[in-house]
Symmetry: C2
Subunit: 389 residues, 2 copies
């Protein structure tokens, strides 16, 4: 397999962007990534698009061709592929594009992730998110997306004495990081008290335990490693990747406090990369709810099982802590335009490994990780990225 590098990154502002359409967001991120990479549009071999549910959010399927067209690339007749796997779609798109390069089929590929969620009302958007859980066995009985994660939180509190205060610290940390990220949806700090006293969404998760609905897009340009130096002085190599699936419905899983898809995807990625979790300085993990980040850092073996809440409380995952987690602000503060998530995570990690993260720069960041979930954890994708010295 050929090695693959990231040579360009781009992202839009994240937030409630009522004056920008899906196609405008996708194109903006893509053009920024192309400009950053130094390639010409003619150098592109293919387009991959991560998108969860444009069909339901904006009534448009076939967004792969849409993006190719509105990027001004229709005349190149590039292969354009949309991939979906719930919230993991952006990360899956990166993996598919990397495989296309590794196979020799393509040399340079752009991967975009985008979602336009705020054109529908909040209730409808919540229902659309629930469509990534099991509609026949969960949603139909009234289980909301937040409700399913609330059950995981409850069980984690019961098994490991995880506290609401510890979960609140995830939100506090990610808002603190988000305040340093000019692209983030929320750029102000919050206090633990604000989380604890906010209205319930699904007990024990309050409004501030939940990532927002967002519009936004992100893009990366991938290139075969043997050509990357031609375009970039700071290519970032994809060291290894892993993807895994699990039972779609929560009630079939062996354990509510562990996501086996994350465990397996993590093992596959670390094995492929030939590194261990303690070698990672910076990670973007899926924090659609505060409990999700706690479970993720445990399942990725950054901390021992059950100690995710305590590690967060003790600052181990803070900026320049033992491992810096969600320096972008995460889904919680950067925002959660679902299709963009996995790609935006990669953008942040590349920025950190290049040393271009400004006020939120992690010192001596050499290896970074992204972790992205679909649904309530029935899909997980892990990528490891490394700085080239």
């Amino acid at each position: 397999m050929r090695d693959v590098a990231v040579i360009g990154i781009g992202e839009t502002q994240f937030g409630e962007l009522w004056d920008k359409s899906f196609r405008e967001l996708g194109i903006e991120a893509g053009l920024k990534a192309i400009e950053d990479s130094g390639i010409a549009a003619e150098d592109l071999d293919a387009i991959y698009v991560g998108n969860m549910s444009a069909g339901k959010f904006i009534d448009q399927e076939h967004v792969s061709a849409l993006v190719a067209d509105y990027s001004g690339l229709a005349d190149q007749h590039l292969p354009a592929v949309r991939v979906e796997g719930g919230g993991a779609c952006g990360a899956i798109a990166i993996l598919q594009a990397a495989m296309a390069i590794a196979s020799g089929m393509h040399d340079i590929v752009i991967v975009g992730g985008a979602e336009k969620m705020t054109d529908v009302g909040d209730v409808q958007a919540g229902a659309i998110l629930s469509a990534t859980a099991d509609q026949e066995w969960e949603s139909v009985f009234g289980a909301t997306f937040a409700g399913l994660y609330a059950m995981m939180a409850r069980r984690h509190m019961y098994e490991f004495n995880t506290t609401r205060e510890q979960m609140a610290q995830v939100a506090v940390k990610n808002h603190k990081n988000g305040a340093l990220n000019p692209h983030a949806q929320f750029q102000r700090e919050i206090t633990p008290d604000m989380v604890l006293k906010a209205p319930w969404v699904a007990e024990p998760l309050s409004v501030f335990d939940c990532a927002p609905l967002s519009d936004g897009a992100a893009a990366v340009v991938l290139c075969a490693m043997d050509r990357a130096r031609k375009f970039s002085d700071t290519p970032v190599r994809i060291l290894g990747s892993g993807q895994a699936s699990d039972f779609l419905a929560l009630h079939d899983r062996r354990d509510l406090t562990t996501m086996d898809a994350t465990v397996v995807a993590g093992k596959r990625a670390f094995h492929a990369a030939g590194v261990t979790p303690d070698k990672v300085q910076v990670a973007e993990v899926h924090d659609n709810f505060t409990i999700t980040e706690i479970i993720a850092i445990e399942d990725l073996r950054f901390v021992k099982k059950g100690l995710g809440g305590m590690a967060t409380e003790e600052g181990e995952t803070a900026l320049n802590g033992k491992i810096s987690v969600n320096t972008s602000g995460g889904l919680k503060a950067r925002g959660q335009p679902v299709g963009a998530t996995g790609v935006a995570q990669a953008v942040e990690i590349v920025r950190q490994l290049r040393g271009e993260a400004g006020k939120r720069q992690v010192s001596n960041a050499e290896i970074g990780l992204t972790h992205t979930l679909g649904g309530t954890g029935a899909t997980a994708v892990v990528h490891l990225f490394g700085r080239m010295n």
Copy 2:
């Protein structure tokens, strides 16, 4: 790049299957393909799912994980990926899976395509199909999917003197083939008069010029060529593939009577395979409308531009004609469960190349082609398959 072979095929009955759910259809096709291939489920490295719009048809996104789960494979935690590109999604899924094998990431991959369209009403289903055209510039002004194709038909009639009688012959031929296919939705022959006197859907396209709404699924097992003989005495090699995109909306295209995406995808596939169109004995091409098959056989260079109608009328594309087109009955008679289309086409070609097509067997079939469209031709995928001697 490693060579890739098809070692297993499976499909469900196609039709209005009100007593079977999406997940039941997907699993049935997948298990048939696994059984046909002779592999054990444990041999699988990954799952790819082609699906256009489960989010809108059955309110379920994240069907990749759903299929992995309901196949009884959740414990293997396989990477499961859904790809979408309008009606081309099944063919794109095959291409992605083949690249995953070619890259060395995987050895054995199952590709399923499925759609459950008849749980919603006809009008709503039509609107969902239109979501693969440009919603902001076509559908919003009232253009239906059939209406857009009707414009192509009108222009083709104007430019090349193509007649309604010639278009009707596409339907007559494909119904004749479908009558020989026990999995087809329509297994009875029709007359030209039935097509010509049927009610308009969008003039000049009558009901019998249009493929039906359908439920169904198909699956193929792909394997690295160097391991294929272990499982199969009759592996069918993927000789080459091509995918291309085009302007999403018809009004931006340079010509209404040619689909540039088909032309380019065809050239890429023939180039990759190192063969020419005259070497192909059997082809499954996208015939969601009768005019589409006429345009396709021209754009794939099976006949000269403008002569597709005449060639059909003269029997060149009939079973064991100069080139046998849509021996399965095509979308027109086999049925058109959108996500299944590209995979079902591959199933038919493999069956023909193995010599297992029964009453509709093409004699001496050595090279076969599939051609699949997304939307009104903004995506096209062409695969070439070859018998191993």
